[in-house]
Symmetry: C2
DNA sequence: ACCACAGTATGGTCTGACCATATTCCCCCA
DNA sequence: TGGGGGAATATGGTCAGACCATACTGTGGT
């Protein structure tokens, strides 16, 4: 005989995932709705509770459900929408595995930042989050603090662009590079130049000048973090964030 | 008393994840290396095998490990690098939950396609994959086939840009939109215009003209899939792809 | 030299138990 | 009648142990 295909029986938890996904699409479940309990789901789908739990871990990893213990309307598995956490974990792990280089992540960030700034300018963004972040950035005492509000500023730009997907990507990319950004700011010492850059970006967005906003972001990033694409040696890295979510 | 913080005990599988991640960074594990078996890991970390398995599901979901049954050097949990699958699952689920709109995904795709084309042009891409995809596209008999090779063409562009992260994003975004692309091509009927677009993109990349490549991609996508940002009603959707990976 | 088969390590699955937590219910007391 | 407090309960979290299917490994016989 010839031409056999490998059978590849699907695993039980994959069945569970498919069923849950079908139920989401079919029943029109949305964020905030609850899934049946693990025991009930196991009985309905004729699998063990372990398999249901493995499926839940997958959904949790993808930022689609959050599990709460206890009793009551808020307990159990609730549908949520947190794509950014999943992306952050993805980037951190693949960076750790060296299956993605820092340079690739930095390049992707530049792409998204430019795009977001341009779209925020065209989109007529809500500027209050930007001004608040700018203000806190000016008052920051440490590099960590500065970077925190710097990130908030750029994430606010991404959110102002009106695209939740690119905003989630922006947040994840920023989070992944946080450690390097802090180092770059420390090396730089003086942040007045960075503040001027940010104000220029802000003005361009407020004026609705997409091209200028994009250019301002590009120059800012190149100037702010010139050495960010030089990978650190392994010994230089701290433990960093770790996997695992909580709703 | 006041100022209590919620304790937030970490779950056992989160511990396992953290330990594995630490081991990857510390021991310098890379793609192709094997993790200890589930039973051994459970004993080492003093948790049950179930908890180890839940951690494995997370790592598998993120495209970082692949589990093989059986015995021998290829069996067990092997470190891999498949970020695209994770991104595809993420997009599909969040689209299903309506926590991301089709328009947002399409916009993100346009961003990445333009960026990739421009970078491929600058980068001096390997053109063989592009020509092969172009040729097969020309011979395609059905819309499905056409879209398949169309996707291969654009993914090849992204890979030619030299950035594995944006390439993975491109593949995932394309996969998520595949169904709509097929529909758009069917509605269009004639593909000679699309072929001309693709040749123009190809010429721009071969000539190293980044601006022209980017512009050609933008015009192509706007012309090829004009209705792609109009969401389909629920009844129109087929079952679509489902979750679950295999190494 | 080769082949067949037993041995074994691996993930996949299930069962059933127990724990921790948080809400809900209900009874008793004021 | 109202309220307080404890029991009941539903939820996820964890564990131990068993068994199965799979696929390599080694061994012994031909």
């Amino acid at each position: 005989m010839s031409g056999w295909q490998p059978v590849r029986r699907t695993r039980a938890f994959e069945d569970v995932l498919a069923q849950i996904e079908r139920r989401i699409a079919g029943d029109g479940l949305t964020v905030g709705d609850r899934l049946p309990g693990e025991r009930q789901l196991a009985e309905q789908l004729q699998v063990s509770r372990s398999s249901v739990r493995e499926a839940m871990r997958v959904l949790e990893t993808l930022g689609v459900v959050s599990s709460q213990v206890g009793r009551g309307p808020d307990a159990g598995a609730v549908l949520i929408s947190r794509p950014a956490g999943a992306l952050t974990d993805l980037l951190r792990l693949h960076l750790g595995l060296a299956s993605l280089s820092l340079e690739e992540v930095v390049d992707a960030r530049l792409m998204i930042e430019k795009w977001s700034a341009a779209h925020a300018a065209r989109h007529g963004a809500d500027l209050s989050a930007l001004t608040a972040a700018l203000e806190r950035m000016g008052e920051a005492a440490t590099a960590e603090e500065f970077v925190e509000h710097d990130t908030a500023f750029h994430v606010a730009i991404a959110e102002a662009s009106g695209n939740r997907l690119t905003a989630a990507m922006m947040r994840s990319l920023r989070d992944s590079l946080r450690r390097y950004a802090v180092e770059a700011v420390e090396r730089l010492g003086d942040t007045t130049g960075l503040m001027a850059d940010h104000r220029r970006i802000y003005r361009a967005i407020a004026a609705g000048d997409a091209a200028e906003a994009s250019a301002a972001v590009e120059e800012h990033l190149h100037r702010a973090y010139p050495g960010i694409s030089r990978p650190l040696r392994n010994e230089d890295r701290g433990p960093g964030g770790q996997l695992g979510h909580r709703g």
